[in-house]
């Protein structure tokens, strides 16, 4: 299954009016984006091999953050934001969550995936892999 499939679920849920659906939609949007980048890193040769069940989110976000390629660094900021929105939606029930929040999370997830696909080049991705791998090694993640 392609991670972007989760965006379809997010889209269906954000069209609902119940708050639980809207909160769940934001979670699906985050996972669509997070899993896209986890899989993309895996495709180009970077996968968390040590304790893969731990710090899975930090691995993807921080590898992108320290990759020294603007497209990757920018993606990491979007992912951090979407992760925060997802955690607000799932844990901070006292913070109101409305349709706008679900709509924006969906659009950001869609945008971060599309922007990366359109703007990254194979040369940039080679640099990204090299720098992100060095960072991951330093963190004992690979």
């Amino acid at each position: 299954m392609e991670p972007a499939e989760f965006l379809k679920t997010a889209e269906l849920l954000k069209a609902q009016t119940e708050e639980a659906h809207l909160r769940t939609s934001a979670g699906r949007s985050y996972y669509a984006a997070f899993l896209y980048f986890r899989e993309r890193l895996k495709q180009i040769g970077l996968e968390k091999t040590r304790k893969p069940g731990q710090q899975a989110h930090a691995f993807v976000i921080q590898c992108l953050q320290f990759c020294e390629v603007t497209e990757g660094t920018k993606a990491s900021q979007y992912l951090r934001d979407l992760q925060q929105v997802r955690e607000d939606a799932d844990y901070h029930l006292e913070i109101p969550f409305v349709q706008n929040n679900a709509n924006d999370a969906f659009l950001k997830a869609q945008k971060v995936i599309n922007d990366y696909k359109h703007n990254i080049s194979s040369e940039k991705e080679t640099t990204l892999l090299e720098k992100a791998s060095a960072y991951a090694k330093g963190k004992c993640w690979i």
């Binding site: 731990q54 953050q65 020294e68 603007t70 660094t73 955690e87 706008n100 929040n101 924006d104 659009l107």
Partner: protein, 155 residues
Amino acid sequence: MNGSSTYTIEAFPSTLQSTEVDTGYRVIGDFGRRVSHLIKSVITDTICISTLNIPIIESASKECIKFCDSQGLTSILADCLSKAKELFSSRIKLSADLDYFRDDQIENTPHVVIRVEVNSDQQTAIGEYDQFVCWMATEIPPSDSQHFTITVKRV
């Protein structure tokens, strides 16, 4: 973080005229004179309430300021708040607080969450947000930006 003490920046009317009301800010609290001065220099400005038609609330929690001070991130926080004020044209709330990502509990390191509430349409809000992210990606070193998350909410 619920229940955390807050370092408040309170809006107060400085000029009252028949056509518009200007608002200034003062910093309340006695936490860290140096930090206070730096943050104050960023948040002090004047706005025309009659233009926005809504009061602006700005705050940074004590925990957040203490964390930034201990990590040498105070100037980065100030830069981020300043940039947020510059870019988000219809902001009605700007705050900075500490939070943790629960998905990666083993790390459990706090990060600063800058929350911006705006009264604008989706296209404008996402456009301004994207500009902020581009600025962060190019101007703030990753060793610093890894401690900051910005999230924008439309009201």
